[in-house]
């Protein structure tokens, strides 16, 4: 009887210590005013499917032409020009760029003015003129400053490229390095894109300026600021960090300067965001890349995220000083949810695409380099 008492007492002490550690452990530097239930399930309000169109190689994102009746479905192998004058019956008009993209345009298209910018792995990019909506023309090809470009945000004619990639050992599929860069390209003359500058590590802001963590996407705000969606995870510890949003002064594109970062509770990595009415909705994941990159179910190579979607809201009335309002996770397993899949709908609603990342040729996507 006495032995049972001590066992129960010990269990109670362990539980109390674990609880205290969880409560007392500092998790973030930003102020969190509230937090709704973590990992709660989503309820249902179905959308109605109107139509569909099968495309060779599939699509990664969709850009709508200003003519109102044309869409560009950008896939890893080609850009499909689609007549959407009848949304329930989309019709393929033509395809473009297959010789350029070669199955390696895994990030889709990004629009600046009347041009589409298409990053192509490992370190190339193409620009296409869409001023004549159904008669695309090649404008230029250029080499971005860094490899593995995953996303482009724009401020005026300047595009800000983020990269997210890692190195791993082929002998055991272990990631041992992570990388993320942030670089500017000027598209004022889209026939001659010009590299402008990039964010360098800065000892005065070592966390917000580090290029040793993946940077999954960015957005520009306020005319002089960018937010980069990243993590504090570095090296081989892909899941040891916290979600991070880096605040960057981009008033001089030749010399962007890190201003600080906000750490996001419940997230291991941040992936994207969109702003509506001074509220930034940011997406993330409770886990980052699987490491080692071996799927335990079938022993196949697989570096996909292993966690669930997180959502965070920030007040960005002052873009230089965003304030975290809330953060929650969900029951939605997802590889990615960056800004290309988050759309403001008005009245406080956002549409969000959440699901496994589209990959080509490997279960992890080519954002990696094998050693």
């Amino acid at each position: 009887m006495r032995l049972r008492f001590y066992v129960l007492l010990g269990l109670a002490l362990v539980f109390a210590l674990a609880l205290a550690a969880g409560v007392l452990r500092p998790r973030h530097t930003a102020t969190q005013r509230t937090s709704s239930g973590c990992c709660s399930a989503a309820r249902d309000l179905p959308a109605t499917q109107l139509g569909s169109l099968i495309l060779s190689g599939g699509a990664i994102n969709v850009i709508l032409s200003s003519d109102g009746v044309t869409a560009y479905a950008c896939g890893p192998t080609q850009i499909s020009v689609i007549d959407i004058s009848t949304p329930g019956a989309p019709r393929l008009v033509s395809t473009f760029g297959s010789l350029d993209l070669g199955g390696n345009a895994i990030s889709g298209c990004f629009q600046v003015g009347q041009s589409l910018v298409v990053p192509v792995n490992v370190q190339s990019a193409f620009v296409y003129d869409i001023s004549n909506s159904r008669n695309l023309r090649s404008q230029s090809q250029f080499t971005p400053a860094f490899p593995f470009n995953g996303y482009v945000s724009f401020l005026g004619n300047v595009g800000w490229f983020t990269t997210d990639w890692f190195r791993y050992s082929q002998s055991n599929n272990l990631i041992f390095e992570q990388h993320g860069d942030f670089a500017a390209v000027d598209f004022t003359d889209p026939t001659h894109p010009a590299a402008v500058g990039n964010l360098s590590p800065d000892s005065s802001q070592p966390d917000a300026s580090s290029n040793l963590s993946p940077r999954f996407s960015s957005l520009t705000i306020g005319g002089d600021t960018a937010y980069i969606f990243s993590t504090t995870a570095t090296g081989g510890d892909t899941n040891g960090g916290q979600g991070a949003m880096q605040i960057i002064n981009i008033s001089n594109p030749a010399a962007p300067v890190a201003q600080g970062q906000i750490l996001i509770p419940q997230a291991t990595t941040m992936t994207g965001g969109a702003v509506q009415d001074n509220i930034l909705l940011a997406t993330g994941n409770t886990k980052s890349w699987r490491n080692p990159g071996t799927n335990p179910r079938n022993s196949q190579l697989n570096f996909q995220f292993t966690g669930v979607l997180t959502l965070s809201a920030m007040d960005v009335t002052d873009p230089h000083n965003p304030v975290l309002l809330s953060s929650r996770c969900s029951d939605v397993a997802t590889w990615q949810a960056n800004a290309s899949v988050l759309v403001p709908l008005g009245n406080g609603f956002f549409a969000l695409s959440a699901g496994p990342r589209r990959t080509t040729g490997s279960p992890s996507g080519p954002t990696r380099a094998a050693d």
Binding site: A47, L55, V62, L64, L345, S353
Partner: protein
């Protein structure tokens, strides 16, 4: 998914349905265009006034 951020201190998450191989989306009016691993899918957004 639909995110209800009307109260940003209490984010709501609503499922609009499962779309196989879903990737990027864009919206024009009440029409949502979804890029998927198979191509393009077009949806009408649900009536949000009931929320």
């Amino acid at each position: 998914m639909l995110v209800d951020a009307r109260d940003p201190t209490n984010l709501g998450l609503i499922s609009m349905g499962y779309v196989p191989k879903l990737a990027g989306i864009t919206v024009s009016g009440n029409t949502l265009y979804a890029a998927t691993g198979d191509g393009l899918a077009v949806f009408q957004l649900p009536d949000l006034s009931s929320l």
